[in-house]
Structures are given as structure tokens and as C-alpha cells.
């Protein structure tokens, strides 16, 4: 039995390593190029990139938060011996063809994505810890390790959000044990990688026993984020990371109510859930709120495919907790993954295979193929609307008091 489990774990690792080495999203090279300046002693990457933009081969801004820079840069320094002498010139190579034709790319991608493998296995371990029942724990870990969605999200798109996802899940496990202060600390650290865990704070407020705890759990993450961010606070940081398209897309205006005002759908939904929990829910189960909020965000905003990882561990827990939802959740995940694949962005689909051959540059994207017989934007809207409808019904099912399950 133990031998069998080991074999399954090895299979899960082999699948991940293969995907890591063979499929290439250019983001991993961009943020590793930027993080490589840590080896050269650069501490404030935001202002460094702005000041040296004209002389750098890659001109992109560093859109992530400071801990990402230090963790990615620190790891790179640690494994520089493994990566070899050609690695730095590969990182700074701006030629789109020469980058993928470099025979070292398989090694570079595999080594650069290894931390994700470690975090990924750790997530499986934390998911097991969520359930007291051993069988349910094994089931949730197996679903996490063997579903194509998370493998693609983590290893194909080189998902840097993995750090925040792991820390958010750890925070949630502390919530489950009613250790809200520890949970808020983990959310604070997670926010130093990516800002989205901050969105869970209002729900921690709901869970606080008394006003003192409610205020503490709100202030701790903000304080941690403030301490980490303060040394980097500059116009360059604000422009690149704080108000970057990725950070603010959730809060982009939804529909206008006249005279320049708009209702921001993401914030509207967050607020509605918060007030529902405050005014109606006598026993707030934070799991329901966190998972529901994320499902709603993806249903009502234009999202980046890598963001889907934020909700993935919670969906897997939900599928095990409520088996009747497992198939609808599978459908939900399939629809959610399908939407970004039809964005007009080659790096979402065809370009991922450029390591095999650059001849694929001649192939049209799914967007262009669909355009020949149907409006791709209309198609995206149809799929997104279906997703939103499904989310609303699942919200009813999730919040409906136990008894039907």
C-alpha cells in the first residue's frame, strides 16, 4: 500500500517535471531576468529597472511585489551552479527565436520551475491536513495531484502566484483551528507576493470573537505588507506593481451609473458577501465565503488564466466536501480555463509549444480560427455568462445549511 502511494507520488512528479521542461510561457524568463539583478546586488528592482530601461535588453517593469523578487532572485543565486554559465546570457537574450532554440532551455525551465514542484507537493500535504478523515484527506491530495488543470496552471504558465496560494491555504488552515492571528499573519506574508490575499481580510473581520480581535486580524496583514513594501515605495513601485493592470483589473469599473460614477462589480460582490455574513449568518464558515468570493470574481471579471490557481485548492476541498458538486465544479473549471484560451494572445496557446519548433508561429490562435465562423468575443461572453450562472446556483448550494448533502 505504502509502495503504491510512493509510485503514485513519483508519477505525479514525473508528469510535472515533463510539463515544466517542455512548455514555455515567456513570463518565467521575464521575471527571472529581472530577479537576476539580486545576484548583482540590486535591492530596489522597481527603480533600478526604470533608471536603466534604455540599456536593458528586456524593457518590462517588475509587476510583482517585493518578496517575489527576493525569493525568485534568492533561489536563482542558490541554483546558479546547476543552471550553468550560459544561463545569464539566455536570460538577457531578447531574440524570440534564439531563446527557444537554445538547447539549454529544457534544463533552465525545469530548474526554474522546481520551487513550484516543492510548493505544489506542500499544497497537497496541507490539503490532506484539512480533513480529519484519512480517506477524505487522501482523496483531496489525489485530486490535487492528478488533475490537468493545476498542472497546466502551475507548470505551463509558470505560475508565480503559487507562493501566495500556499500561504493563503496555510492561513485558511489556521482559520479552521480558530487561530485567527496566525491566519492573518500568513495572509500578510502572502500579500507581499501578490495582493489578492488582502481581499480575504473583511471575512477574517467577520470571524473575530470580539472587536479587539476583529481589528487585530485586519491590521496585522496590512502592517506586514506595509513593512515589506515601505522601503520600496516610490513612483516606480506604484506604477509597476501597485497599480499595474494585473493588480487593478478586479476593481475596474463594471457599469456606469451616470455623472462619471460606476459600480465596480468585484467590490460590489465582496461587499454583498461581507454584509450577508455580518447581518444574516450566525455561524460564519469562512471556507464558504472565501471560495464563493473567488468563484464570483472569476465569474464577473476579465481574469488572467494564472489567477485561477487562487481558487484551485478551495475547489478541490469543495469537491471532496460536497461530492454532488464535483462534476459541476469540473465543468466550472473547464469553462473557466477555456475563456482565456480564446483571448487574442498567442502566449496563452500556440506559443507555449515554441520549444518544439518556432514553425508554430505560422499557426493561427484559437481566437483567429474561431473568428472565421463566429465572433470570438461573443463566444467568450457566452462561456463567461454560463460560468456566472453556474456560480450563482453553486453559491445557493454552498450556503444552504447542511442536510441536503
Amino acid at each position: 500500500m505504502k509502495n503504491n502511494k510512493l509510485k503514485i507520488l513519483i508519477l505525479a512528479i514525473v508528469l510535472r517535471v515533463l510539463v515544466a521542461g517542455f512548455l514555455f510561457h515567456p513570463d518565467i524568463k521575464t521575471y527571472n531576468f529581472q530577479a537576476s539583478f539580486l545576484k548583482k546586488g540590486v535591492i530596489n528592482i522597481y527603480s533600478y529597472l526604470k533608471e536603466n530601461k534604455s540599456t536593458l535588453p528586456l524593457k518590462d517593469e517588475f509587476v510583482y511585489f517585493p518578496l517575489t523578487y527576493f525569493v525568485v532572485g534568492g533561489y536563482q543565486t542558490l541554483v546558479s551552479g546547476l543552471l550553468g554559465s550560459g544561463f545569464d546570457s539566455w536570460l538577457s537574450d531578447a531574440g524570440s527565436n534564439s531563446v527557444v532554440k537554445n538547447a539549454g532551455i529544457f534544463k533552465y525551465l525545469t530548474v526554474l520551475k522546481l520551487p513550484y514542484l516543492f510548493l505544489d507537493i506542500l499544497v497537497a500535504f496541507l490539503l490532506m491536513k484539512y480533513f480529519k478523515d484519512k480517506k477524505m484527506g487522501e482523496k483531496v491530495a489525489a485530486i490535487w495531484l492528478f488533475n490537468p488543470f493545476t498542472i497546466v496552471l502551475i507548470y505551463v504558465y509558470s505560475n508565480i502566484d503559487m507562493y501566495a496560494v500556499l500561504l493563503t491555504l496555510a492561513a485558511f488552515l489556521y482559520v479552521k483551528r480558530n487561530k485567527l492571528l496566525q491566519a492573518s499573519m500568513f495572509l500578510g506574508i502572502a500579500s507581499c507576493f501578490k495582493l489578492y490575499p488582502m481581499l480575504f481580510i473583511p471575512f477574517l473581520f467577520l470571524k473575530g470573537k470580539d472587536l479587539k480581535e476583529k481589528i487585530s486580524v485586519c491590521l496585522i496583514p496590512i502592517f506586514i505588507l506595509g513593512i515589506v513594501v515601505a522601503p520600496f515605495w516610490s513612483p516606480a513601485f506604484v506604477q509597476s506593481a501597485l497599480v499595474s493592470g494585473l493588480t487593478t483589473r478586479i476593481f475596474s469599473p463594471g457599469f456606469t451609473i451616470g455623472f462619471g460614477e460606476s459600480i465596480i462589480v468585484g467590490l460590489f460582490l465582496l461587499s454583498a458577501l461581507f454584509f450577508y455574513g455580518w447581518l444574516f449568518d450566525k455561524e460564519v464558515d469562512l471556507f464558504n465565503y472565501w471560495v464563493m468570493f473567488l468563484l464570483l470574481i472569476f465569474s464577473f471579471s476579465h481574469f488572467h488564466i494564472v489567477w485561477l490557481l487562487w481558487v484551485a485548492p478551495f475547489i478541490v476541498i469543495l469537491a471532496v466536501k460536497k461530492p454532488s458538486l464535483s462534476l459541476p465544479l469540473f465543468l466550472w473549471a473547464s469553462l473557466a480555463m477555456a475563456i482565456p484560451l480564446f483571448y487574442q494572445d498567442r502566449s496563452m496557446t500556440i506559443s507555449l509549444f515554441r520549444v518544439y519548433t518556432t514553425w508554430y508561429d505560422l499557426l493561427p490562435t484559437p481566437f483567429v480560427v474561431l473568428q472565421k465562423f463566429f465572433d470570438p468575443y461573443n463566444f467568450q461572453s457566452i462561456v463567461h455568462s454560463t460560468l456566472a450562472g453556474g456560480t450563482l446556483v453553486m453559491a445557493y448550494k454552498i450556503f444552504k445549511k447542511e442536510g441536503g448533502e
Binding site: V19, V111, F146, I151, F353, L362, L363
Partner: protein, 198 residues
Amino acid sequence: MKKIIWATTLSISFLLFVLPGILASTLDMVPANDQPGYNGSKRLSIYGERQFSQKFISRDKNLTAIGTSIKNPNLKNKQEIIFNLYGKDKVLIRTAALNGFNIGDGDFVKFVFQSVPDSGGKEYSFTISSPAAGPGEMLEVFIIEPTPDIIDYFYEEETHPGGIPLVTFHKPNSKLELIKTVYFNWFSRLLSPGSQKI
């Protein structure tokens, strides 16, 4: 659980080992080379009577398209762009036409024509013109130094060494051969001596 493990293993294996072959099978042509680099400092305009002509060598057989980067400043050109391919003794062998309406400023543009079967290693010349365009609707091509394939160009009654940074495209002999080439190149890079050494 067994079903989930099998389904995931098969779907990931499909993604990594089968899908690249399927994608390759949909290719109608393949490039013979990467586009040579150009810095954009030397450009020539094309409009009205002012046409561009160049000699080049086709690296492979079944020549079916010529691609290069073209500037369409302010997207003003919405006129027809004519590409003529000439063989030995200036005999017109192929023609292709595009509309400037579909060309962005700096786009990589392909002139596609019926394949020329025995084109491997042979010298050809071509002209690019936009006869209906006025000076305000000019297109621009980039000029680079000569390479083994790019010989010389003729512009405003004068011949100069070099030409535009072009890519020749060739129709594959068979889909199976094409798929084999993709997998072979991939494996040979993966297994190239020392490349994966840690």
C-alpha cells in the same frame, strides 16, 4: 481515484507528445530560415512608379511564400500591393497581391503563391510595388547587408548589394515528413551533448 490518475496521465501525455504532432500536421508551409536582424535605420519607400526589386537564392524546393517586415506609416496605405516573382531571364513565374488595409506599421508580411517545385538552390528575383499609392500612402521596406541568400537589390535605376530581410517559405513534401522533422529537431536539442548537464 484510478480513473482520475489515468485520465490526468493520458491528458498530460497527449498535451506533451501528441498535440505537437497534430499542430505540425496543420502547417501548410515552413520557413527556411529565421528573419535576418535589421536595425531600421535604412529604409526605402514604395509607391506609384517607385518599386523595389531584389535577387535572392531559394534555400529549398517548393518555394511558396516570401515574408518580410513592411512599414505602413500611420496605416495610410490602403492600396493594392503587388508582388511578382521572376525566374531565369526575368520570366514572370508567380504573382501575389495584398491590400495595404491589412498591413500594420512594421508587420511581418507574407506574399503567398503557388509553390515552385524545383526551387532549391536557384536564383530568383522579385518586385514589390504599390502602383495606385501616392507619396502620402508609401510603404517602407528595411534594407540589410548581403547574406549568402540575399544578393542585391535594384531601386531607382541603381543596383546595390544587400536587400530586404526576407524569409523564404516552402511547402513540405509530406505531412508525415514534417511531423517527423518537428519531433526529431525537438529530441536532438533535448539530447544534444552537454546541454542538460547539471
